[in-house]
Homo-oligomer: 331 residues x 2
């Protein structure tokens, strides 16, 4: 059985409180006993039990990052921003993913059983109610992928609608009109599609319903869908993929079908992941400040944990013009 504070007390010939006092430098302990305790701790190899401590203190010193996935360009970059900020404040953190369905119950354990002192959530798989009740019990929460507000809940987001709208505006400014869209499900997908449609209305672009192709945000799937789409005889002037991975899959598909990008069809992505600038042709896309999103989420959480108010923060995006998109008359 593991050695407890009691064993140390016994070995040092003092009471448990004296041991506790010395270990936490609370209370005043005589040098003599302090030394005895230290020695006993060393020889017994005593390490305090984190769970007992957490139970007593009603906090455990960890904040949690709960993401759909822990690896990958998007989630990884956000994680990098969070970790960096946490480091600055010397705040410990753990990460857990919650992508697969079964895990929802698991995450609920860390979250619902209050095994963290604060949480940053970047996964739509965790229901709003879970987060709300968590916040109600005093645990601050920051969400990165949805709008949610409450006493201890903050949102850190980009303006998806506006970002996509500006893509539409850009398409219009290039003299392009016939648009197809490769979209995905979820909050981001909805908002981005909405923004694009607004721009379509505003600038008189064309975006038939059957030119809105549902993807799953992944490159390979987008490749397949693009092949199918083009085989049906559809010939848009520009394809707007709602994330960069899909844009790349789309471009690969077009090229494999001997359609030139951007000469025959322009392609625009969204997110501006690292690979976008290295891809050939380099991707015209919307820069989404992933690192900063993570950083800001961490800042906001830390602030709330110090009693600060909850807030809703929108970080700016920017259109990045590269090679995958071309003016109509330049063809």
């Amino acid at each position: 059985m593991a050695v407890t504070i009691k064993h140390v007390a016994e070995a040092a010939g003092v009471s448990v409180s004296t041991v506790s006092y010395t270990l936490n430098n609370s209370g005043a302990v005589s040098q003599e006993k302090r030394l005895k305790v230290m020695e006993a701790v060393k020889t017994l190899g005593y390490v305090p039990n984190g769970m007992a401590k957490s139970l007593k203190m009603k906090k455990n010193g960890f904040i949690g990052y709960f993401a759909y996935s822990l690896y990958g360009v998007v989630y990884g970059e956000v994680l990098r921003g969070i970790e960096n900020e946490m480091d600055k404040h010397d705040q410990e953190m753990i990460a857990a993913r919650c992508g697969r369905l079964q895990s929802i119950t698991h995450i609920s354990r860390l979250l619902r059983e209050r095994m963290v002192d604060g949480a940053i959530v970047f996964s739509e798989t965790i229901p709003n109610e879970v987060l709300s009740t968590l916040a109600d019990t005093g645990c601050p929460v920051v969400v990165l992928d949805r709008e949610l507000s409450g006493p201890r809940i903050s949102s850190v987001l980009i303006d998806n609608v506006n970002s996509a709208f500006r893509v539409g505006e850009y398409i219009h400014s290039l003299g392009l009109r016939k648009v197809a869209c490769l979209f995905g499900d979820g909050y981001d997908g909805q908002k981005r599609l909405l923004g694009l449609k607004e721009a379509v209305g505003e600038f008189g672009l064309s975006l038939p319903d059957h030119w809105c192709v549902r993807g799953n945000w992944e490159e390979d799937h987008a490749y397949q869908e693009t092949i199918k789409f083009i085989r049906k005889g559809n010939r848009p002037e520009v394809i707007f993929a709602l994330n960069d991975e899909m844009a790349m899959g789309c471009i690969r598909a077009l090229r494999d079908m001997l359609i030139r990008v951007p000469e025959d069809i322009s392609v625009i992505g969204m997110d501006d992941i690292a690979a976008s600038s290295l891809f050939s042709p380099s991707l015209t896309t919307v820069h989404r400040p992933l690192y900063e999103l993570g950083e800001m989420a961490a800042k906001t959480l830390l602030d709330m944990m110090n009693g600060g108010p909850s807030s809703k923060i929108i970080l700016p995006t920017a259109l990045v013009q590269r090679e995958s998109c071309i003016k109509h008359w330049a063809i």
Copy 2:
């Protein structure tokens, strides 16, 4: 104050044990009381306290992955393997990084205070003794980046020495002789350098001490070091970088100095990260089964947690011939 099992008992008009029984389906509870309990749980929004539970049960249901970093090609890929295996066994996990120095104390908290039921460690920043004492208290550990053995400690590794040796052998088989090496610190670096030197002796290659250049495993740094190295007038026939990132930095540097790869100088990497095959020229390297390493680590840990013995597992590597390396006479 949070609602506890006591409140539920009171609201349902039963004892705490009855509540506990129904919630864990242990013991036999009458349908009538069971219903009452369920209702009280629902209306009160009761959620059991994870810390109290863990304290009592002496386990908390989580295994931990402690890596130098959580993002990045190498660590991310290992993590993917681990998660996938954990998913299969419906085992919950958390991840924490332990790269920066300050964090060592933090990680020690999760590890030393036994806040996980098992651990996979992939960071040389955590000392052997910490892992040994952890294992002594009954917590199984799998290490991925060093050889360490004990009752509850397993290692999952590749044979670095042999892998590097085979690179030397390959270099020899190509008719190349004058080798430079871009190495890095730590266990992997040591072993790989050792293997290379063995091959140098065995096959009569040339590897002067000052042609062994210390890198820090990163691309940019390798870029700088390569520039310096070449500016000094050194002209090896082949540069063996002990990981792919450094190999890529090296190639970029050579090309920026108008030295052709592989015509003028061949470059060989190690690890075979995803980018290696996409790089131009594609990288000749040694495939290190990162995903499988993670998967195997998870399997081994799970096995130990079920009472299995500790073990040392070596996964095979394979030389991957691509474009960055050329036969001597082919120049």
